[in-house]
């Protein structure tokens, strides 16, 4: 097969696979496409039939790629969208009708009617808040979960759960309004979400204080690694017994749970310390950096070696 025919074929196949992945979040799609051109060129170079003959239709290639990468199928993704569209449209149209009707009816009935019209909007908000507030409270970290909640460390899971929660919340609201059972659940959910939101907002202020002003806070309130005196631990610098800095040391607690909740701190001059997202969350030391005046990252590294053990004196060994 000539080079140009192969190129055209690769281009066509590549575009078709791309089109079949276009419902995925950009990051997921780009990652899947990263190796694809290389793959297609290699297969095309083998002189062993067309790409379709070798790899099957581009649509099934794309589906196989998604399934093996642990991503939802295109069908599943598209099925989610209409549900969200219905929820959005419901909120918009009823709010619009409420305003329109306000102009023509007596006020007392209208206040009641207006509240009733707000219902669908609240159902949507209630679903979102249920996930967002849960993420904030369980992680003890508000900034990472607003406005997009992160569940089990993943924004994708967070988004999927949010959409599901909105659908369930709207479904429950509509069901109750149509006079079916479930009123108690609906009220319970509303109260729980409202209380959770208040709790998360109450914690908001202290969360900000800790993050930006680096104030030691009471131990039980600090949602991150810290010393017993309350000072935050932003990084862990592990050294071998001869004082050399180790890298990629994996830390776990006594139960085997990965230690990942390092503190966010600022330098004495107020510049925030950032961390690049590591491939392995509990590998230390982590790569910390701050930005200089012209926005360039300046790495904040651990000292490459230590002369003597830190602390006043080595602890006596249990045997001695």
């Amino acid at each position: 097969m000539s080079a140009s025919v192969a190129d055209t074929q690769v281009r066509t196949y590549l575009d078709a696979v791309k089109a079949h992945l276009d419902d995925l979040p950009d990051a997921d799609r780009d990652e899947l496409l990263e190796d694809l051109e290389e793959h297609l060129l290699e297969v095309a170079a083998e002189d062993d039939g067309t790409l379709e003959q070798r790899l099957g239709p581009p649509e099934s290639y794309a589906e196989e790629l998604r399934a093996s990468a642990g991503l939802p199928s295109r069908e599943q993704m598209l099925a989610r969208r209409p549900a969200q569209r219905v929820a959005d449209r419901l909120a918009r149209s009823t709010a619009w009708r409420a305003v329109a009707r306000m102009n023509e009816s007596p006020i007392p009935r209208e206040v009641h009617g207006f509240l009733k019209e707000l219902g669908p909007g609240w159902w949507v908000l209630r679903g979102y808040l249920a996930v967002a507030v849960t993420a904030m409270i369980t992680s003890g970290n508000r900034r990472d979960n607003f406005p997009f909640p992160r569940i089990a460390g993943s924004y994708f899971t967070g988004s999927v759960l949010t959409i599901l929660a909105v659908v369930v919340s709207v479904w429950l609201g509509r069901r109750v309004r149509r006079g079916r059972k479930g009123r108690a659940y609906s009220i319970l959910l509303s109260v729980a979400v409202a209380a959770g939101t208040l709790a998360a907002m109450g914690g908001w202020e202290t969360g900000y204080t800790d993050a930006y002003y680096d104030t030691p806070s009471p131990i039980e309130a600090a949602p991150y690694l810290h010393h017993a005196d309350g000072n935050p631990i932003a990084n862990v610098c592990p050294y071998s017994s001869d004082g050399k800095l180790l890298s990629g040391v994996l830390l776990f607690d006594q139960g085997g749970r990965a230690i990942v909740d390092t503190a966010r701190v600022t330098l004495p001059d107020g510049r925030p310390v950032e961390r690049s997202q590591p491939a392995i969350l509990n590998a230390y030391p982590q790569a910390l950096f701050t930005l200089n005046d012209i926005g360039q990252p300046v790495p904040l590294t651990c000292p490459p070696s230590i002369g003597a053990p830190a602390g006043p004196a080595p602890a006596p060994s249990p045997g001695g």
Partner: protein
Amino acid sequence: MDTSQLLKGILDLAVLAVLAEEDGYGYDVVRRLRAAGLEEVGDASVYGTLRRLFQQGRVTSYVVPSEEGPHRKYYGLNRSGRDLLAEATKQWDAFTEAMDALLKAKEAAA
């Protein structure tokens, strides 16, 4: 029986085993799996599996420039990947042992 169904369940283990021998890029892994006798392994499944193992922090990757064509992305096992391979190998051994015994028992009864 459709071999591709069987393959799905064990592809992670097969890919990890191939990478344990030597680092490799996507198509290289496909070739080595086929050479090892897993002829029906799907190209896309291997690429997707590599991507997922990378996401899960089981493999690392690095790019090697190539003179002709695009650069190649190599994958290699890290510590966590080797742990997973050891764990999965144990499960596989237990599983095959159980299946062997089951199939032999059926043979003996027949």
